[in-house]
């Protein structure tokens, strides 16, 4: 298990790094999916099979598909890659890298200094999770559902308003005819 954990952790970090320096959005997405899948394996090694499954299904599956749709909708070609190269200036990585390095250092320092004795991971299956989710966290579930509804409405609203501009309106009128 340990070996699997470390290998998948290394894959996750590497895939994320590669994602960051990609110019093509679709390539970046693929690296992101890889990173997410690696993290799913990490979940599994941590004794959370249900979470691992969700990670694969929802994150790497549903959400990423959404990204793919959008990237395709935007129809970015070679021009986009050139544009992207222009945006990514020579020294632009220095400041984020420094910030990220400091953050990693600080958090690692905290974890090395402050964490108490560790228990070996124990598998917690969907049953326990379901019991907790619909037991003490009922309100949270309701709130999450409302959040999703709000997200749905919001996304629809934002997308719709852009389409009710003058030109699309003409198109729709013609379509009616």
């Amino acid at each position: 298990m340990h070996v699997v954990f470390y290998i998948s952790a290394a894959i996750a970090v590497a895939a994320t790094l590669l994602m960051l320096r990609q110019l093509n959005a679709v390539h970046a997405l693929i690296y992101l999916v890889i990173s997410l899948l690696a993290v799913a394996v990490v979940f599994y090694t941590l004794g959370a099979p249900f979470a691992a499954a969700l990670e694969v299904i929802i994150y790497a599956g549903a959400i990423m598909v959404l990204f793919v749709f959008v990237v395709m909708l935007l129809n970015l070609g070679q021009a986009a890659i050139r544009f992207e190269r222009k945006l990514l200036g020579k020294g632009s990585w220095i400041c984020p890298a420094v910030l990220a390095a400091i953050l990693i250092a600080e958090l690692t320092w905290l974890l090395i200094e402050g964490v108490g004795p560790m228990y070996p991971p124990m598998t917690i299956g969907p049953v326990e999770v379901g019991a907790a989710l619909f037991g003490p966290y009922m309100i949270g579930v309701e709130l999450a559902s409302m959040l999703l509804l709000a997200g749905l409405v919001g996304a629809y609203h934002i997308g719709r308003r852009e389409r009710s501009g003058p030109e699309p309106a003409d198109v729709s009128e013609e379509a009616h005819k």
């Binding site: 910030l99 953050l103 600080e106 905290l110």
Partner: protein, 604 residues
């Protein structure tokens, strides 16, 4: 009879109130009647009160009428109460009677003026305040009258308000006298703090009991009160307002100079003379101020060209005599001179008013001349008043009162010499005035002869100026014992010296001072400008205050708060720069902030 005392101030107060409120809608006849009758009531009541008082003197030779308690706070309870003793009686009599004559005169003098009702209202208020000042039984009530006179002088000097110069003169009078009043107010605080009352009689008794002669507190109190007296009576160093006060209508000048206002200082010192007896240093200062003022004003009077300014300086000079007498402890002499001065100075002003009116508001004596025949009333009145003023020996009232003062000064050669020099000066400027105005050739045609209402007061006052001071057994002892001390009998030497000075002045005036044009040498100009006091005060006091007000027009402190606002705006500008709308900038800021907080958690 004595319980009618309250009517003396009340009648003119009431009349003033009525005239102020509804006077503009009343016919002139009613206004004049009300204005004069109210003073007449005062005068008659004071006469009746005087008869009652002298006929059957109340116990202690004083009568106290308590009307109501004014203030009652923590041991301080001055009353609205009137106090009548020989001193306040003689003052009241003179004030009300002379004021009555001046009011009568005004009915004709002011006949054409649009502010007729306002004029009589102010005049009535003036008399009422003066009577209040005289009759008040405590210093606070006296202060009420004191400020009231100051106010009325301001209103009346600036009566013809359309000319800003008149307004300035009124303001000057008000402000300068208020400088003195402030000193007096502090004196009141001191007296109350140390002696626990402001009732004059109690105050005097306690002062005599508590303070040894020459004690510091007595000197301070007397000096502070003297400050007030000097302001109101136009003595050095606060004399500058009086010559300018001539901007008011002539009856006003008569009222200010003869009956009210300027004599208030003399009255105050006479009233509180116990204090000055305890503080001999201040008393000496009073004498020196009087002597210096009488000389200074005499020289200034010698070179004036405005008929009223000559009289104004002569008033300052004559009040100087009264101060001299007060300073010498000759209280009765001072009051005696006040009385005769009231008669002849009122007479001179009223006569001057006739002259001015007759010559179309001409004030310059070098444009007059030869009026002896055209205006005989004015001439004879002026002659009577002038002789009384200069002190024609044996005949006029003024000579008696002045001789008394000079005789009192005989122990001190310097003061005595000043008094004699004063007589010479008085004689010089008086006869210079008479010769220039009534002799020589006529330069301006006469357009108006005085009517009855103007003539009656003039004649009455002329008679009083002549006979008011002779040795009448009825009131000479009364006068003499006002203060419970017998006066020095006039000495032969003083009388002769004064007479000699008088005649020298008369002759010199005839030979040397009848020139056609005013003297223009630097000394004359210096005297003409009142010894440069106005210039000096302008530099020392007026300009700095005006400068401060102008510089600080916008309030320095406010600009400090404005600085605070500017600072806030500056900081806002700086912070607004960070709000640049760049998403990544915000994210970096959040990240940076997080890093700092985590670092704080780690390292603290």
């Amino acid at each position: 009879m004595l319980d009618l005392l309250w009517l003396i101030p009340a009648a003119p107060f009431a009349s003033a109130a009525v005239l102020l409120l509804v006077g503009r809608r009343m016919p002139r006849k009613v206004v004049a009647t009300l204005g004069v009758v109210s003073i007449a009531v005062s005068a008659i009541v004071s006469g009746l009160v005087a008869i009652a008082f002298i006929g059957s003197p109340p116990p202690g030779n004083a009568y106290d009428q308590h009307l109501w308690t004014w203030i009652a706070v923590g041991g301080f309870h001055p009353g609205i109460a009137l106090y009548l003793d020989p001193l306040s009686l003689i003052m009241t009599l003179v004030v009300t009677f002379v004021s009555f004559l001046i009011h009568l005169y005004s009915t004709e003098f002011m006949a054409g003026d649009e502010g007729y009702a306002r004029f009589f209202a102010y005049m009535n208020l003036f008399v009422a305040s003066m009577v209040m000042l005289v009759l008040g039984d405590n210093l606070l009530l006296l202060y009420l009258g004191w400020e009231g006179v100051g106010l009325c002088s301001y209103l009346l000097i600036g009566f013809w308000y359309r000319d800003p110069a008149n307004g300035r003169a009124g303001q000057k009078a008000f402000i300068v006298t208020r400088v003195g009043d402030t000193s007096m107010a502090i004196g009141l605080f001191l007296l109350f703090h140390m002696l626990g009352t402001l009732n004059i009689q109690e105050l005097m008794a306690r002062a005599r009991a508590d303070w040894p002669v020459g004690s510091g507190l007595a000197i301070a109190a007397a000096a502070l009160l003297l400050g007030g007296a000097v302001g109101k009576s136009a003595q050095l160093p606060l004399q500058t307002w009086l010559p300018d006060a001539m901007a008011g209508p002539t009856p006003t000048s008569a009222l200010i100079h003869a009956a009210t206002m300027v004599t208030a200082g003399v009255y105050l010192i006479a009233r509180t003379h116990v204090l000055y007896e305890i503080a001999p240093a201040v008393q000496l200062a009073v004498a020196i101020i009087g002597a210096a003022t009488l000389l200074l004003a005499g020289f200034s009077a010698l070179v004036q060209t405005d008929i009223k300014r000559v009289l104004a300086y002569s008033t300052i000079s004559q009040i100087g005599y009264m101060f001299l007498a007060l300073g010498l402890g000759a209280w009765s002499a001072a009051i005696f001179h006040f009385m005769t001065h009231a008669f002849f100075k009122a007479l001179l002003f009223l006569a001057a008013g006739i002259v001015i009116e007759a010559l179309h508001q001409e004030h310059n004596i070098f444009h007059m001349g030869g009026l002896r025949r055209e205006l005989p009333v004015a001439f004879w009145a002026f002659l009577a008043g002038g002789c009384a003023l200069a002190g024609l020996p044996l005949v006029t009232a003024g000579s008696y009162s002045k001789d008394w003062i000079i005789a009192s000064a005989s122990p001190s050669p310097a003061l005595w010499a000043a008094a004699i020099a004063g007589v010479l000066l008085t004689s010089l400027y008086t006869f210079r005035l008479i010769f220039l105005v009534f002799f020589g050739t006529a330069r301006t045609p006469v357009s108006k002869q005085p009517g009855v209402a103007e003539q009656i007061p003039v004649w009455v006052l002329a008679v009083l100026s002549i006979v008011g001071g002779s040795e009448r057994p009825a009131y000479r002892p009364f006068m003499a014992h006002l203060f419970g001390a017998t006066p020095k009998p006039p000495e032969a030497l003083s009388t002769i010296a004064a007479a000699a000075a008088f005649f020298t002045g008369l002759v010199c005036a005839w030979y040397f001072l009848r020139g056609d044009a005013p003297a223009t040498n630097p000394l004359a100009r210096f005297w003409y400008a009142g010894w440069g006091f106005d210039w000096l005060y302008g530099r020392i006091f007026v300009r700095p205050v005006e400068w401060a007000a102008r510089v600080n027009h916008n309030d320095v402190i406010d600009s400090m708060y404005d600085g605070l606002a500017t600072l806030a705006r500056f900081v806002w500008r700086g912070l607004a720069l960070t709000e640049n709308g760049k998403l990544r900038w915000y994210a970096a800021a959040i990240a940076g902030g997080t890093l700092i907080f985590v670092a704080l958690v780690i390292f603290l």
